[in-house]
Symmetry: C2
Subunit: 329 residues, 2 copies
Amino acid sequence: MIKIAIDAMGADNGVYPIVEGVREALKNKDFFAYLVGDSEQISEALKQNKSSRIEIVHCQDFIRMEEQASAAAKRKESSIYVAMEMCKEKKADALISAGHSGATMSLATLRLGRINGVSRPAICTMMPTISERPSLVLDVGANTDCKPEFLVDFALMGYEYAKSVLGYPNPRVGLLSNGEEDTKGNELVKETFKILKDYDFFKGNVEGNDIFNASVDVVVCDGYTGNIALKVSEGVASSVSYLLKKEIKKSYFSMLMASLLKGAFSSLKQKMDYAEYGGAPLLGINGNVIISHGKSNARAIECAIYQAIRTIESDVSNKIQNAMKKRLS
Amino acid sequence: MIKIAIDAMGADNGVYPIVEGVREALKNKDFFAYLVGDSEQISEALKQNKSSRIEIVHCQDFIRMEEQASAAAKRKESSIYVAMEMCKEKKADALISAGHSGATMSLATLRLGRINGVSRPAICTMMPTISERPSLVLDVGANTDCKPEFLVDFALMGYEYAKSVLGYPNPRVGLLSNGEEDTKGNELVKETFKILKDYDFFKGNVEGNDIFNASVDVVVCDGYTGNIALKVSEGVASSVSYLLKKEIKKSYFSMLMASLLKGAFSSLKQKMDYAEYGGAPLLGINGNVIISHGKSNARAIECAIYQAIRTIESDVSNKIQNAMKKRLS
């Protein structure tokens, strides 16, 4: 049976949404969950409903959001450290954390190690598009300053993830730039373009709006830019929703009409909701690590678990390893 | 009377929207318009309706979107070159162009010159927020690779523009980063933070979503990142609208309900519509230059004219000059 270590600590809304998400996922999928963290808090959240497929792994310590990521390496009693060791020792097949993402990332690199040939691991996120298929954007935060070879690795890893985990037949990869022309971009993009143009999957430079119009499947950028793109898209979606609600609330009539349109609004909301996309896999390490949003609700954790299962079953880590070997040879 | 030189050439939809926008603006504001470009095309678009406050300035040449920006410097017969010279010789108080933005920018720097003390001019764009006041983002494309001192200049110029042209009493300036903490950012952001923290108007690092939630008035970033932020926000807004329409079209009932909500939708649309925000001023040069979207419709050109008038009347160019002098002394 698939075994998943879930860091129950350090998320913005405490252990409850984590525990609830695990419980929901257990109803639909056959896996074993290690809930790693403060046993008292976890037991309290579980109440009487403890499944036989849940085991609590007690830890007294955890990394708080405001702490430095580098602190994690020395905190061997922290929930994320303990969960990472379970992955390293193959007691768990995957790890999910909605806690300190920097700590998760640095511990994953340190304890599980990078895949041979990968210059830097990258956080890969899924974004809604106007088509049925979400697009992938990487890196969205692991590496704020990049070299061209990092971005080339991101392109290869994103391609493998789109193919193996998402099942896209021939993933198309684009390089995020300030214009579609080959000559556009900052120095990093221009240098990366020169290398990527020799790969068949590479479709050239793409612009910010191309993330959402399904013109490519994978969008590659440095982690600083990826984080900005992610947060801008969250910001626009939430302000559109806020402004529309405000307009509608101006009259009882429009409130009534809007309530009759509930179906359309909620299916749009579902499509735009980060929770439905689970978490962001950390690609390029020897293991399966999913980084969830600090604000994750139960549904987001549930989806992150499904994503972890798909990631394990598709063996993407090995596929990235093979892709890297092939390139190196 | 205020005189504005309008480059009628090189926009995506030809001269018609430009001419139409000028005509609409003339109904509401007292100014004189020089329409610079092919006299035959402009006359055709004007038909019988030529106002006494319009003069056509004929040019045979113009810079096409696919040409290199550097070509503009040698094309003295091109519409943008001629319009720029009119600004230089004070025949016109401001210039508006929806043509090749790189050409406009490089010619403005070359022919009008940078304000003393400004390291690089920046394109400054207005973005909708959940409050009544739009926020300013700069740079959105002029400078793809920046040094910390460029970003500090952008902060100063954005502050002056928000104060003088938009009338914001105490503009708050934020630095775009991948986290709010002082330590977040790529190398450029971290170095810029160290300098900006000594300015009273500086409110620290902000994230992508802060552009829309009115937590600051001015958001500073390099031109590559600013362009990505701009295009991502356009992409999200248009895909939300596309997806909602698609959902609504699934049934006649919801189509009917939605049509009864038309008022709410159109006032949201107006708020999110780039056309309402006119164009993007090029800050840091000796003159008033407004860069409009290549896809500008007549309303966008009309609003760009109002913005040009506000920019002239507020004397922002001189105010930036004074701010720079003050800093240098």
